[in-house]
Amino acid sequence: MPKQLGRREAALGLALPLVLLAAWWYATALGGIKVYQLASPGDVVRELGVLWSNGELAKNLIASVGRVAFGFAVALLLAIGIGTSVGLSPRVERIIDPTLQALRAIPSRAWVPLLLLWLGIGETAKIVLIAIGAFFPIYVNLVAGIRGVDRKLVEVAEIFGIRGFALARRVVIPAALPSLLVGARVGLTQAWLFLVAAELLGATRGLGFLLTEGQQISRTDEILTAIVLLAICGKLSESGMRAIEKRLLYWTDGIGA
C-alpha cells in the first residue's frame, strides 16, 4: 500500500472520535446537561492540566501502567510455560486443561473477595488479579496454535532426529508464534479491564482510584478524565502489540503481510 494512501486510510479512524467529541461538546455547551451529570470536554482538559501540574497524573498513570505491565508479564511467562507443555503433551493436557478451563469460567469479580482475604489490599492482590485476566487468552491461543502446527514441518524435524525440547524451540514455538501474539494482544486488553476491577478496591492511586474518587466526590470531570486516559492507554498498548506482531511475523504470507 502506498504510504500516502495508508496515511489517509488511517486518518479515517479519527473521524468517529471527532464526531463523538463534537456531540459531547455540543450537548454540554448548550447547558441542557448539568456538570454533575456530564462534564464538558473543556472541563476534562482543565482537569487533565490540574492533574498534570500537581503530579497526580504521573503518579496515577505510573501506578496503573506498572501494575498492568507486571501482571501481564507474569501471565505471559506462565502461559508460555504451561501452554507449551499442554500443547505438546496430551498427557499434561489431560491433567491440567480441565482445571484451567473451569478456572477460566469464573467471572473476574468472583476472585476479588478471595484475593482480598488472602493477599490483602496491597499490590500483590491487584497484580494477581490482572495476571489471571491476561493469562487465559494467551494460554488458549497458544495451545490452539501449537495444535495447529503443520504436522509436515514436525515430520521434517523428525527426519533429522530433532525431538523434545529442541523440537519445541526450533519448530513448534516459532510456528505457533502468530497465535501466541494474537493471544498476547487480547491478554493485554484483558489486563487493562482487570486493572480497573483491581483498582476499584482499596487502591490509593491509579486510574481506577481516580474513578472511585470522582464518584465519591461527584466529580464527573475526574471520572471522564480517568475514562479518557484508560481509553488512550488501552489503544496505545494495542497498537504497540500490533507493531511487535508485525515485526516478529515478517515471514508470514497472509493478506496482512
Partner: protein, 246 residues
C-alpha cells in the same frame, strides 16, 4: 556387496487396509531406483517406511545410516531464510560448513538470503533438496519431488537432481507416477500395482553407464505404460527428449 537398502518381508497396514504385504526389495549401492505406480498404490508408504516415518507391522528394513529425504512439498520453515533452512539439518561445524556448498550445488547461491514466501515452487524445492544434502547422505529418498511443479520447473529440477546424484555418488530411491521422470533419472524402474502392492514389472533402463545419449526408449516406454495399464501417449506428448547429463 552389501545392498544400500534391503527390504525384507515388509507388511504395512493402515487399519483394515493392507498397503504392503510380505514385500521385498533390494537397492544396490550407487544405483538410482525409481518406484513407479499409480496414486495410492503404496509407493510413498514404502519410501516413508525406509525413512522410518512409518512403523511396519512386520518385516525388516536395512539401510545406510545417513538418509536424506525430499518430500513432495518443500516443507521449508517459513520463518527462516533459505540458508537457515538448509542449516536446520546441520549438526556441528563440519555440516554447518557444508551449508553453502549445498546451496551452490542446487543453484540457489543468489537466493540464500530469501524467505520461503519469496521463492518460486522450483526454488523452494531446490532449497529442500539442499537441506537434505547437508548431512552428506549415502541414500537419497525422493518422494515425488517434482509432482507439485509446473512443466518447465520440473524439467529444470530433474536435470539438477540427475547432476547431484552423479556428483555426490549417492544411492537414490525415487518415488513417482511419471514414466518420463522415471526413465530420465533411474537406472532401474520397479512398477508397483495391485492392493496390497506387488512388483508388476522390473525394467533396467539402457545405457546406465551414464553416457550422453539421446536414446530411443520407445520399447521401455511401452513396457512401463503397459505395466501401469495406460496407453502409451503419442511421441512428443509430454515426453521430453531424454538426454542424460554427462
Amino acid at each position: 556387496m552389501k545392498p544400500a537398502v534391503a527390504v525384507d518381508g515388509l507388511t504395512i497396514a493402515f487399519g483394515e487396509r493392507r498397503v504392503l504385504e510380505d514385500f521385498s526389495l533390494v537397492v544396490a549401492p550407487g544405483e538410482t531406483l525409481a518406484i513407479l505406480g499409480p496414486s495410492g498404490c503404496g509407493k510413498s508408504t514404502l519410501l516413508r517406511a525406509i525413512a522410518r516415518l512409518v512403523t511396519p507391522q512386520s518385516g525388516r528394513i536395512e539401510t545406510d545410516a545417513e538418509i536424506g529425504l525430499v518430500f513432495q512439498e518443500p516443507r521449508l520453515l517459513p520463518w527462516l531464510s533459505v540458508e537457515k533452512n538448509v542449516a536446520f539439518a546441520a549438526r556441528g561445524d563440519v555440516e554447518r560448513a557444508r551449508v553453502k556448498d549445498a546451496i551452490d550445488l542446487v543453484g540457489l547461491t543468489h537466493a540464500a538470503h530469501l524467505l520461503p514466501k519469496a521463492l518460486s515452487g522450483g526454488m523452494a524445492q531446490r532449497a529442500s533438496l539442499a537441506r537434505s544434502l547437508v548431512r552428506s547422505p549415502k541414500l537419497l529418498l525422493l518422494d515425488e519431488p517434482l509432482s507439485a511443479l509446473d512443466a518447465l520447473a520440473r524439467l529444470d529440477l530433474q536435470v539438477a537432481i540427475a547432476r547431484i546424484i552423479r556428483e555426490t555418488g549417492c544411492t537414490a530411491v525415487l518415488v513417482t507416477h511419471d514414466v518420463e521422470e522415471a526413465l530420465f533419472l533411474a537406472d532401474r524402474i520397479v512398477v508397483l500395482g495391485g492392493a496390497p502392492a506387488a512388483v508388476a514389472t522390473v525394467l533396467e533402463v539402457p545405457s546406465n553407464d551414464r553416457r550422453v545419449r539421446s536414446a530411443d526408449l520407445t520399447r521401455e516406454r511401452n513396457v512401463l505404460y503397459a505395466a501401469l495399464g495406460v496407453e502409451t501417449p503419442p511421441a512428443g506428448a509430454g515426453a521430453p527428449r531424454l538426454i542424460r547429463v554427462q
